[in-house]
Each structure stands twice: as structure tokens, then as C-alpha cells.
């Protein structure tokens, strides 16, 4: 995809995320919008995973540790053809598989997540399995910066370095806001790069809403042979909609009809401006 096409995709994804959150009257809006570009680049440019090869042991794996931002994942998986997009009309409805966190009942989802601090250990086990079997697939996991205080992340970070998992990539969606307050005020995990480095990881920082920059970073894996890869993706929570950006209210805010229309207008204008 050209960079322009990738950017178009991101905006289309954002529109759909909001559409289905509006329909469900629930969702993690701000965080889904902050990680949209990361998912876009991974699924459209980087990972070897598709509905056709999803049962292949050689596929790349994506494990979403920040499971609450499932709307972004579902929209991207639908676009990849894992299921018909109209299924998302049942998001969070009685008996729907499309619940508020990733579940394997939905085609394309690798692991049931939602409790924070689980994605990285799962990804480490998966990456170890690849090494044991001399398989070349890569494992990506997306963490929120708000979940970095979970101790299990750091347990897993140690194992990843111990087992030299350069086939593993942990991406921190660093939107710097969590449900209560700015992340630095809740439990400061900065400087995050130094923490990962001191745990034996190779670290790159990137503008996590810049598809071109993200693509280059992911293409440069492994950053250092024999070291697991950490990408600190600096993002904007609520990215793409002016009144949602950097606003605590939109952590799991659901737009009103008027707010939704305003958001669509802004996103359409962004599309035209590309």
C-alpha cells in the first residue's frame, strides 16, 4: 500500500470504530483511536497473517494485551476478511461473540485478553515456541502504557531477554492517559525506554500515529540480533477527532449523535486533505 492509501485506511478504520461504538453504546474510544495506526500498519504491511493462513503454524501472531481497545482490532480484522463487517452490528449485544474484549470465538483473534498484564507472557511463550521449532514467524503484542505497572509484564520482559527473543515485538501504545488521570500522575513509568533497555531489550521510539514511521520501525526488526524488540509508540489518545484528543472523558466515552456527526465530518475532511 502507498503511504496515502495507508493513511486513508487509518481514517476509514477510525470512522468504523466510532460507528460501531455508537451502535453498541459502549467501547474504549480514546484508546482504540490511539492504536489504530499501529494495527493498520501491522495487518496491512508487516504481518504474514490472513484468513487463509490463520490455521497455519507459520503465521505471524498478534496478541492484544490492551484488550479493552477491541473495537480497533475488530474493525481491522473485518477489513482483513476474517469475518463480515456487518457482524459488528452485534457488538456487545446479548449472545454476540463480539464482546468488549478480544475472544477466540471471533475469527482472527489469537488469545482471549482483557485482564491487563497478560499479553506479554503469552507472547513470550509463543515466541519461545517459534524458537524451539526453528520457525520464522514473529510475535507482536500491543500494550497500553497504563498497564505497564502490572508486574507480570516485567516478569515476561526478563524471560524474553533470557531467551533472546528477537522474534518478539512489544509495542507500547503510549497515549499517556489512563482512566483516572495522565499516566505519569497515576503511576509514572517513565523513562520507559530505559526500563526496557535495562531489562535487555532493544528499543525504538516512534510517532505511533505516523504510518510511514511505524512501517519503517517494524521493517527494521530485529533491532539487535538476540534481543527482544520494544517499540514505544507515542500516540494521541482519541486521535483524529479534535474534541476527543487527549481528553480523559473519551477513555470509554460514547458519542452522542451530534458528536458522532461532528467526528465523521472531521474525519471526512482529513480524508479529503490527504
Amino acid at each position: 500500500m502507498t503511504n496515502k492509501e495507508l493513511k486513508q485506511k487509518s481514517i476509514e478504520y477510525r470512522k468504523k470504530i466510532l460507528k460501531y461504538i455508537l451502535k453498541a453504546k459502549a467501547g474504549h474510544t480514546g484508546g482504540s483511536l490511539s492504536c489504530t495506526d499501529i494495527l493498520n500498519v501491522l495487518y496491512n504491511e508487516i504481518m504474514n497473517v490472513s484468513p487463509q493462513n490463520f490455521s497455519s503454524p507459520d503465521r505471524d501472531r498478534y496478541i492484544q494485551s490492551k484488550g479493552h481497545c477491541v473495537e480497533a482490532l475488530f474493525v481491522v480484522l473485518a477489513d482483513q476478511g476474517f469475518f463480515p463487517e456487518e457482524d459488528l452490528n452485534t457488538l456487545c449485544q446479548y449472545k454476540s461473540h463480539y464482546i468488549g474484549h478480544p475472544t477466540r470465538k471471533v475469527n482472527g483473534v489469537e488469545q482471549n485478553t482483557g485482564a491487563l498484564g497478560h499479553g506479554l507472557p503469552l507472547a513470550v511463550g509463543t515466541a519461545i515456541a517459534a524458537k524451539l521449532d526453528n520457525k520464522l514467524f514473529k510475535v507482536y503484542t500491543l500494550l497500553g502504557d497504563g498497564e505497564m505497572p502490572e508486574g507480570s509484564n516485567w516478569e515476561a520482559a526478563l524471560s524474553a531477554a533470557q531467551y533472546k527473543l528477537d522474534n518478539l515485538c512489544a509495542i507500547v501504545d503510549k497515549n499517556s492517559l489512563q482512566i483516572t488521570a495522565p499516566t505519569a500522575e497515576v503511576c509514572n513509568t517513565d523513562p520507559l525506554d530505559e526500563k526496557w533497555k535495562s531489562f535487555g531489550w532493544a528499543v525504538k521510539e516512534v510517532d505511533g500515529n505516523d504510518v510511514d514511521a511505524l512501517k519503517k520501525v517494524f521493517q527494521s526488526m530485529p533491532f539487535e540480533k538476540g534481543k527482544p524488540n520494544a517499540v514505544i509508540a507515542h500516540t494521541t489518545k482519541g486521535k483524529g477527532v479534535s474534541y476527543m484528543e487527549n481528553s480523559l472523558k473519551w477513555h470509554h466515552g460514547v458519542p452522542s449523535a451530534a458528536e458522532y456527526n461532528q467526528a465523521m465530518k472531521e474525519l471526512d475532511e482529513s480524508l479529503l486533505a490527504l
Partner: protein, 319 residues
């Protein structure tokens, strides 16, 4: 801590666990042990030496142990996540619930030195909660093998099936419950050790042996007992439970677990909800600060012993 030295002619179930796993690993490179600095206490030292590429060491980090195990299992590995039951089923409970059971990654969660096996090391090292908490989690089979035979069978079966399993092992050398065994071992099917018509003693894990000894003692008082090794706590063998309860005048359960939420309450729940009303008693560890001492001291204190069980049977039958 110093490992208990086996001076008896019998082996601990844990040793059989390790031997069986080694035998399976000889022909199956997908057998993987994951340990949290626990290969010594899990008797997996020899396994690690023989199969260095089939043991994953995560250090003392139980949450990561289970998460990593689940990731490995998702790639088709037959994983035995081995750690002291006390830590594994408490600290890493959320990983067992979500990453193993809910995500249906067929990890074999191996709780070692379970119950009060650690004796005088105290409550931090006891697991008297594991049946209770795991019973409330969907999609995990809970098994406490009683003797070496059940252990070997359970480990082989766990390696075969695509369902999460919790296996619980103690450290004590365990004599065989039967001299010869040619029965089919299945999860969810209790094992009849001896048959009688007065009382049904239903036990699991290391408490089956004292239950069997109690049955022998009771014969001196002309009381005949059925002894069941209910190695699978979940799914419970309801059919066998109903049959022995119907046949006998009273039912007594014995477990190395809190009297809350374990085998006893599982049996009571089934019997009551199916209108089978018999005098009933749960022997286990009561809800109090556990008495200090060795496993044997603790067992004797709470009546998990030949005499203790026999006395309770007599009380139950005379009431």
C-alpha cells in the same frame, strides 16, 4: 529447603510424574516442562538434564510461568507448567483462569508439594484453597492422583488431551492402593479401591491411603467400607457417588484441603441436589490457623488418619 529423602520402598507421586514425563519426552519433542526455579522440588532435575531443549525456566515468577505456558500450548506444545501448588494456584490464578482455561490453551498446570506437604514451612506454603478456586473456573479438569499408578496414568492422559488439566501432587512416598491394577483410568471416573456396604469413604490424593487403612481397621468392628479414590474432583464422578451413597448407610469424604469448597462440598452438593440424603461428614482442614507441624502431624491433628477417619465413621453410623 532440603528435599525430603525417600527412605521407604515406595516412590512419591512427584517422582513418578518426573519419570513419566521423561518417558513421554523420549519420543515426543513437544513435551515441554516450564518451571519457576522449581525443577528440584518438582523432581524435574533429571528431565532438565536429559531434555535441555524441552525445559523452559522462567525464574521465580509464577504469573509469567503460566502465561508463557499458555503461549507455548497455543503453538501445539504439550506443556507441563510445574510450580508449588500454593503459589501456582493463588498468585497465578488469573493466568490459569484467563490464559489457560478461558483461552482454552491446553496447559497441564502441575501443582507440586500440594496441600500441607510442606508441613512446618507453614501457611504461605500450604495449598488448601486450590480445589475450591479451580472448581469455580470453567474448562479445567482437577485431578489429585492418590498413588503411583494413578499418577502415571494421569500424566499420560494429560499429555494426550486438548483440555486444560490441573494435576496436584504431594511429596510423600505413596504405597499402591491395589496390588494389581488392570482397570481403565479416566479423568472423571472414580476408582473403587475396596467395597463394603456400611460406609462410603470418598477421598482423593494422599488421603486415600489413610482412608483405606481406616477401612481395614473398621473391619475389626464389623463395619464394612467402600473406599473410592475420587482422583478427579472436577468433573466429579456423580454416577459412582450416587451408587455408593445409595448402597451405604453413610458417606464420609477425606481431603487434604479446606473443608470449604473442595471434594467434600462437591459431593454434598451433588447428593443434596439429587435427593440422596445420607449421614454425611467432610474430613479436611478446618477454617482456622492451621496447626503447625509436619504433614503427618497436621493430618493426625485433624483426623486425616487411619484412626481419625475410623472414629468419624463410627460416630456417623451411631448417630
Amino acid at each position: 529447603m532440603a528435599e525430603q529423602i525417600n527412605t521407604l520402598p515406595y516412590k512419591a507421586n512427584l517422582e513418578i510424574y518426573s519419570e513419566t514425563l521423561q518417558r513421554l519426552a523420549e519420543t515426543d519433542r513437544d513435551i515441554i516442562a516450564v518451571t519457576s526455579d522449581s525443577r528440584g522440588s518438582g523432581k524435574l532435575g533429571p528431565f532438565g538434564k536429559r531434555f535441555p531443549n524441552q525445559i523452559i525456566e522462567v525464574g521465580i515468577a509464577e504469573q509469567n510461568l503460566v502465561g508463557v505456558a499458555a503461549g507455548l500450548a497455543s503453538c501445539g506444545k504439550k506443556v507441563f507448567a510445574t510450580s508449588p501448588a500454593c503459589f501456582l494456584t493463588a498468585r497465578a490464578l488469573e493466568q490459569i483462569k484467563n490464559d489457560v482455561a478461558y483461552s482454552n490453551n491446553a496447559v497441564n498446570v502441575i501443582g507440586i508439594s500440594a496441600g500441607v506437604s510442606y508441613g512446618a514451612l507453614g501457611t504461605t506454603h500450604h495449598s488448601l484453597h486450590d480445589y475450591a478456586v479451580l472448581r469455580t473456573i470453567n474448562n479445567i479438569i482437577i485431578v489429585a492422583p492418590a498413588d503411583n499408578y494413578e499418577t502415571e496414568q494421569a500424566v499420560e492422559l494429560a499429555a494426550k488431551i486438548d483440555t486444560p488439566v490441573y494435576l496436584r501432587f504431594g511429596k510423600k512416598p505413596m504405597p499402591p492402593l491395589k496390588e494389581t491394577t488392570n482397570e481403565n483410568f479416566e479423568f472423571g471416573k472414580g476408582r473403587i479401591i475396596t467395597e463394603g456396604n456400611d460406609v462410603a469413604i470418598i477421598a482423593c490424593g494422599e488421603t486415600v491411603y489413610p482412608a483405606l487403612e481406616a477401612a481395614k481397621l473398621l473391619r475389626e468392628s464389623d463395619i464394612s467400607a467402600t473406599v473410592i479414590s475420587m482422583h478427579t474432583i472436577k468433573p466429579l464422578d456423580n454416577g459412582l457417588l450416587a451408587a455408593v451413597a445409595a448402597k451405604c448407610k453413610a458417606v464420609i469424604t477425606v481431603e487434604e484441603h479446606s473443608v470449604y469448597g473442595g471434594l467434600g462440598e462437591a459431593c454434598a452438593s451433588y447428593l443434596l441436589q439429587n435427593n440422596i440424603y445420607k449421614p454425611f461428614k467432610i474430613i479436611g482442614i478446618p477454617d482456622e490457623y492451621t496447626v503447625t507441624g509436619s504433614q503427618e502431624d497436621i493430618f493426625n491433628h485433624y483426623g486425616i488418619s487411619k484412626k481419625g477417619i475410623a472414629d468419624e465413621v463410627k460416630k456417623l453410623l451411631t448417630n
